[in-house]
Subunit: 127 residues, 4 copies
DNA sequence: GTGGTCTAGACCACG
DNA sequence: GTGGTCTAGACCACA
């Protein structure tokens, strides 16, 4: 995996370390990161995105704690071998559920009908 | 307007005062809060949702600073008279854009095709 | 920047947090605070002037909201990088306009001729 | 005296009742309101400026308390007979002192030289 | 170390 | 009745 796979927004309200952890979760669930695959080093990620190494380290640590990653001594962090890549589509969709619920609530507050929202999302998802 | 119009999630990562400000923005843009309409008092909102009055006051203050609300001395806060109720659908959709972009990015990270995401959202928006 | 650069008058009708915001505006516009410069920490300012940290925090937060300052996570608040230090003299003079208009109105109400007012101000500005 | 002599800014941070009291002080000191002169009624001022009668009443009450006005039974409020109209220029200038000091401080914070400030004020005072 | 959020409560200003 | 300001202090999040 390459450091450029991660998207970091330093000024987002979402803290950086959590941006990383959550992206890792999705990339593993979606199979873009296969079990056993080696992650870029803390220094590499930190350098590439110009962020504090401690922040990356913290993210890796949390991902390890939840069983997403595992530490390979002398080699770095890798996707945990126990992770079967690619959960079912249904399981992956469930990870998006909270965000979709919130989006729907906001659309309702804006008195937006479903149609334009779906049209715009169709375009965005089509990329 | 009634204090029950606001939805507060005390345990969300989003701070309460910002939840309020952002909901006000959407409710005003969507026309559910008309220009000139009086908002529930700080104490009323605080009591109803069992939060500290200062938290509500902070939200109202910020909304005033950005020109969304205005203070009617001795009467309370009202939607700013300069706010034309109900922007165009296009303008309201633009307020959802960042959230939709993020949702699409996450779906891509999960390697989810567009179809199941749109199907689920159609249901959620239909309510 | 040093905490002593700020002048706080605890008994002025102008609330403390706004005294701070407005001083920051002028100091940045005047170039005494350069873009990127780190501000004294909340605790430092609060301690130096014997006021509550939250009061300072509130001022910093508002200044950030209006794009004057930016948060450097873990390091503190700094003058926003987008702020070009030192606007033109004309722009800075415009920031004084409301106060000058009000002063002139009061002089007129007092039936004071221009001459003694200008003489006194010349002295005050000469310091 | 006519209600239109008073300038009211309902949205200024300065509370309305104090705007009135301070204007009365200056108009009396400057001689535009002569000792014994009758003021417009509370209702008249409130109606003309579209503000709450209680606010005007409070201002009149305070002005009476400090000996600026006096209540003439059945006739209304008048400038106190003991007020000699027109203090010396020096005394009137002293009433502007705090505002001039503050203006000078702000100019210094803006790194503005005396010359453009005085030039602008000359124009404003000349009206 | 940095700032952020929230609370509980006092007190003020305004109408 | 309304909102505003400030305090003291707890606790969290981030680097």
């Amino acid at each position: 995996m390459d450091a450029s796979l991660l998207t970091i927004q330093p000024n987002a309200p979402e803290p950086i370390y959590r941006q990383i952890v959550e992206q890792l979760r999705r990339l593993v669930a979606g199979g873009q990161l296969a079990a056993g695959e080696l992650l870029p080093s803390v220094r590499e990620v930190a350098g590439f995105h110009a962020i504090n190494p401690m922040t990356v380290s913290r993210a890796y640590g949390l991902a390890e704690a939840e069983g997403l990653l595992e530490r390979l001594r002398g080699k770095g962090m890798a996707v945990a071998a126990t992770r079967r890549a690619g959960q079912t589509e249904h399981q992956r969709l469930a990870l998006l559920e909270p965000q979709m619920v919130e989006l729907a609530r906001h659309a309702r507050e804006l008195e937006l009908p479903a149609e334009p929202v779906l049209r715009r999302l169709t375009r965005l998802l089509g990329d």
